[in-house]
Structure formats: structure tokens, C-alpha cells
């Protein structure tokens, strides 16, 4: 039975650790290997943001349940500089491939539920959920 996990993010090697942890936690949810890669990719984007912009933060992975469906909930928290214009950051998914932007719209596309709250100089919290079968 997978346990919830908490990964401290401060170095880029933690990005890989977070991806690996997501596979462990999501393993019991019946995801296809493609879906597991999707979750790991979304986490990779978010974790990298923490390393690059906030320098340190934390990602928690939990199993959740709603209306008989189980899923994995990812909460990424940091006390970094925050995002001045969240709306702008969430616009235009293709900014990731050109190296602009924070990869947030991409992560949103990958996951089923996505919430972000951010305050300048206070930090950012992102909550995302992917539902299984």
C-alpha cells in the first residue's frame, strides 16, 4: 500500500526524486504507464520552477478519493518570490517549448485539476490532481 510522500526540493537532483516518488505513490491507482509518465512530467515542470525561481520548496504527494474515484494529489509549496501576474503565467501553453514562461499551463493540461495561488515575496502554492480509474 503506497504511502503519502513529502519531497524537499532545493537541488535539481530533487526533481528526479520527486518524479520517482510520484510513480511509487501513483502505482496503486491503476494508471497506464503513459499516464504515470504524464504525472511525472507535470511534477517535473513544477519542481523545476521551485529550483529555478524559489530555490527551495516542498512537494507533497497524497492519495485522495472523491465520489468513489481515487487519485493522486500533488501540492507544491515554496516561499519564493511569487508570481506577479498569475493570469499571464497561465496563458499560452506553448511558451514552455520556447523556453519562456514557467511551464504552468503545460502542467495544467497534463493534470485533471489544477489550482494555483501566489503572492509576490510570499511564495506560491500549486495543487494538482490526476484521477485514476
Amino acid at each position: 500500500m503506497a504511502e503519502d510522500q513529502r519531497i524537499h526540493i532545493s537541488h535539481e537532483s530533487d526533481i528526479v526524486a520527486a518524479r520517482r516518488a510520484s510513480r511509487e505513490v501513483a502505482a496503486s491507482l491503476g494508471f497506464s504507464s503513459g499516464e504515470l509518465a504524464v504525472i511525472a512530467t507535470a511534477i517535473s515542470e513544477i519542481a523545476r520552477n521551485i529550483v529555478v525561481y524559489a530555490k527551495r520548496g516542498e512537494i507533497s504527494l497524497e492519495l485522495v478519493e472523491k465520489n468513489g474515484r481515487r487519485g493522486i494529489r500533488v501540492i507544491a509549496m515554496d516561499n519564493g518570490p511569487g508570481i506577479r501576474d498569475v493570469q499571464l503565467a497561465m496563458r499560452d501553453g506553448y511558451s514552455t517549448s520556447r523556453g519562456l514562461g514557467l511551464g504552468l499551463p503545460g502542467a495544467q493540461r497534463l493534470m485533471d485539476e489544477f489550482e494555483i495561488s501566489s503572492q509576490v515575496e510570499r511564495g506560491t502554492t500549486i495543487t494538482m490532481i490526476k484521477w485514476g480509474r
Binding site: S13, R19, G34, A37, A40, S97
Partner: protein, 123 residues
């Protein structure tokens, strides 16, 4: 310069097998090292084998593109091989299509392409 990623020279082709969890610094080193060797050996082709990577996020995708472009600037044709089904699946959902970069299913295929193609003016 100490590059942790092995670069194999097979005739006029340089082959790089990208290991999982390369650091940013190592990837930049790789780009520099490849650019140098392509020039030095006047390589016709560069094959980037990513079959060991389970996930290709926007950073990895950008870096691979950069490496391919740098190789091309030095006169070599770059081909990315071995993107795994799961990685490809996630990449397109993220909008990463590696537009303009050649791909092949594996090393054999890439070598076939490089062997039969006219390299001058091709990318």
C-alpha cells in the same frame, strides 16, 4: 573537460547515449563537447539516444533541441532516437513536438538514415 556522458565515434557519426538524471551542467557540457567534436572530426551526423529517459520535460526537450541545432550549425545532421512511448505520450500533451528536429525509432534506423542521406544543406 571531463564529460560524464560517453560520446561514441562510429565513422562519421557521433553517438551519445543520454543517461537519466543528467544535471543541467552536464547537459551544457555535453552541448559544448559535441560542438567541439563535430568540428574536430567533421562529423556528418550526431545521434542522441534518449531511450533511457522515462520522462522528457520541457527543460530536457529544450536542451535536446539546442544540442541538435548546435550540431547542425557545425555541419552535422542531428537525429534524436529512442523517445519511449510513455515519454512521447506525455510530451505531446505538454505541447512539446520537437518541431524541426529529426527523430527515429532507434539507433539502427538513425544510422540507416545518416548512411543514405546527403548531408550538405540538410538538417
Amino acid at each position: 573537460m571531463n564529460v560524464h556522458v560517453p560520446i561514441l565515434k562510429l565513422g562519421e557519426v557521433l553517438i551519445v547515449t543520454v543517461q537519466a538524471a543528467l544535471t543541467d551542467a552536464q547537459l551544457i557540457d555535453l552541448r559544448t563537447e559535441l560542438a567541439d567534436r563535430v568540428g574536430r572530426f567533421r562529423s556528418k551526423g550526431v545521434v542522441l539516444d534518449v531511450s533511457l529517459l522515462d520522462v522528457l520535460d520541457s527543460f530536457a526537450s529544450r536542451t535536446l533541441s539546442d544540442i541538435a541545432k548546435v550540431a547542425r550549425l557545425r555541419g552535422a545532421r542531428a537525429i534524436i532516437v529512442g523517445i519511449q512511448p510513455e515519454a512521447a505520450f506525455a510530451m505531446v500533451q505538454l505541447g512539446l513536438t520537437l518541431e524541426g528536429i529529426d527523430t527515429a525509432v532507434d539507433l539502427d534506423e538513425a544510422m540507416e538514415i545518416l548512411g543514405s542521406s546527403q548531408v550538405r544543406g540538410r538538417g
